[in-house]
């Protein structure tokens, strides 16, 4: 198994900040901590080459430097690339992250790096790069390279990695289904018993962090504002011509209401299957309140009404996709000079 090791000018022994502009270069065999890496890898893998670049140069001129580093790495025909570890060094961390991403995406070769959990590069690359957590400084070199070598060998053997907590790498933002021995109920009871005994326990489902959606300020003067009707209720014209799905909607739709004073019973159906829609079938205006909006416009209480309504289905919606639909709809509304939205949720 052929390993290429990427490192900065400092770990290569070239110099510190004064040598941060060191140009990309390639050396046969190990350099600096590469000797320890080789020791950890044992006889199954060989560090065939080391590619070095100054942190300053890589950070300042990344778009020229990264391809050159990648070219030098590719020349060694590696099976696996190891970058760093970068510990808590910010620019070095970003360089290691970028090198790993390029190696995986462009060379289609597995790559691994290591850095301190709070290194700024972790947030940037954690979803795309395999990283082991390390100490803040090179004092943690041996532990870091032990973990890196173990995983590098697995990558080189094309073995599938287990969960992050088992293998010892930083989670990459992906939760996969796995099989364990005990039922979830039995494991929840185990967690409970640990709590009751005052023992340490770890939840299996970390609580998510949501982006808070703050209610906007009231519309200052609705009498001059164009209003649009938007809903996730799944109210669509009879026959569902846009094929909106009843769960996990893959798209949003818009329908013309220019010539209508109200939505007539029988012309619409509800494809959302999460609530009792009989009231809406009886009067579709209760989901898309065209009748009331027309009345408000007639009385001059709102400026005007947009000629289309927008609809998707919120049932079992995937959050990131729903967020994207909202952005797309909002962009269209903005282009049509809409100043306020009546958003009917179900």
């Amino acid at each position: 198994m052929r390993i290429v090791h990427y490192m900065n000018q400092f770990f290569a022994g070239i110099g510190g900040e004064d040598k941060a502009d060191t140009a990309p270069q390639s050396k046969a065999g190990t350099v600096g901590p590469g000797r320890l890496l080789q020791q950890m890898l044992g006889t199954e893998a060989e560090v065939v080459g080391t590619v070095i670049c100054g942190d300053g140069l890589f950070a300042d001129r990344m778009e020229e430097t990264a391809p050159e580093v990648l070219r030098l790495i590719a020349e060694w025909k590696p099976d696996v690339v190891v970058a760093g570890p970068a510990f808590n060094a910010g620019r070095y961390g970003l360089a290691c992250g970028r090198v790993c991403v390029d190696v995986e995406r462009k060379l289609k070769i597995p790559a691994i790096t290591g850095m301190f959990g709070e290194n700024a590069a972790v947030e940037v690359y954690r979803n795309d790069v395999l990283m082991v957590p390390t100490a803040t400084s090179a004092l943690g070199m041996k532990d870091a390279l032990t973990a890196i070598a173990r995983l590098a060998l697995k990558l080189g053997r094309r073995q599938t990695l287990g969960p992050a907590a088992v293998e010892g790498y930083l989670p990459r933002g992906e939760r996969r289904n796995t099989q364990v021995d005990a039922s979830a109920s039995a494991r929840a009871l185990d967690l409970l018993l640990k709590r009751l005994k005052g023992e340490a326990f770890e939840t299996e489902v970390p609580l998510p962090r949501y982006e808070a959606v703050m209610p906007p300020a009231p519309v200052a003067d609705p009498t001059h504002v164009r209003v649009a009707l938007v809903t996730e209720s799944g109210l669509v014209p009879k026959g569902n011509p846009g094929r909106l799905e009843w769960v996990r909607a893959s798209h949003w739709l818009k329908y013309d209401i220019a010539a209508k004073e109200r939505l007539e019973k029988g012309d619409y159906e509800v494809i959302h299957s999460g609530y009792d829609a009989s009231f809406a079938l009886d009067d579709p205006n209760r989901l898309v309140p065209l009748d009331a909006a027309r009345e408000l416009a007639r009385r001059g209480e709102i400026g005007s009404l947009l000629d289309t309504y927008y609809v998707t289905c919120g049932n079992h919606g995937i959050l990131s996709e729903m967020a994207q639909y909202s952005k797309d709809i909002a962009a269209e509304l903005k282009a049509h000079n809409v100043g306020a939205v009546l958003l009917v949720a179900t």
Binding site: A164, A165, T178, V180, A188, L189, T203, L207, A277
Partner: protein, 423 residues
Amino acid sequence: MLTLDLASFPVRRAQFGAETQYRDGELTIDRDAVRALVVQDARIRDVRLELVHPGDSARIIRVLDGIEPLTKVQGPSCTFPGFNGPPRTCGSGRTHRLEGLTVMQVTEFPYPASGVQAFEEGIVEMSGPGARYSSGSDRVNLLLVLTPGDASTNVEYDDAVRRASLRVADFLALATRDLAPPKVETFSIAEQTPGLPRVVWIHQVRSQGPMIQTFLYGHEMSGCVPTVLHPNELLDGALVGGNYKIGTRTPTYRHTWHPSLQALYQRHGKDINFAGVIVARGHHENEFLKERSAQIAAKLAVMLGANGALCTYEATGNTHIDFMLIVQALEQAGIATGAVVHEYGGPEGKDVSLVDFVPEAIALASSGGIDRRVTLAPVERLIGGTHLAHRGEEAQGELDLPLQELYAATIEMNMRGCRAQEY
């Protein structure tokens, strides 16, 4: 306090024959007798009986509930009380069960319905990659493939189907009445060991209305506040499922044999004192009713002297919010919780995994991500229709689906040890 002897007769094969009888794991079923029990209700026109076994290249669609046959051979009340007899307290005496057999309802409804009252497919997949997530795939299933009769509404028809299936379940289990069971387990929580923590099980079921409901002693629960049951009442069928929402339903055979009940009984007298079951209804319409229900559930736990609560729930979305509020109310009442959640997160598990949470939910066990996908291989036998409800796809060929469209996937993933983990 209730003591129940549960005698289990495992069913490994079933076949049709002249007389209904059980022998060494083989059940012979008298087709005509079963048929007569079903069509005695004019609301059902006809029934066709089919059998499927684990490993069969078979897929079943339009499945409603599934029931493991139970019958009361000694003691008060009956099994499935409220349906198969008066609503008298069950859970004591001796019950016989045909372990691993399911009486499974397969039917379309007579009248069109939309919104929440529309039928949602939950596919039973007997082999291949989907079988792992499909409840029923490891069971011998007797399918009652039904044709509606003189039912005036879908609700009427649903009632007829439920009652017919429970009659059949009792009839089949009766075949073991005079036989010596291979296995008898005695269930009791009367003996409480000093020094061990008292733990209740919060069993939140979904009851929203027709098509999405749970029955307690023969009556649907949408008007119920949380109530206390002895675990043995569940073993005897005090709860019957009538929730037909894709994979997030709990069929009756899982109410009568639930992984939470098993876990608690296994630990009873060793690590815990099992203090009882609090059955709560999920899917309240508004914040007021949600809070009211959560508060009552927590108060019952306090009154039962609970130190801890194992919390599990059926369904998702709205009901998940109810569930989190119960966890919060328990924690605020000083009762530690351990709770099971199934996760979302999108096909790759990269999105947010829970639709709602409370900061008190600090001890959660995962039963896996239910919107990850699986590709089902074409099958030789398709039962229940030709096309999938809702999706409209031809149902016999290859299907690419999220796990939650497999039958009772959430409860089965809990039971089989599915767990989402960070990668």
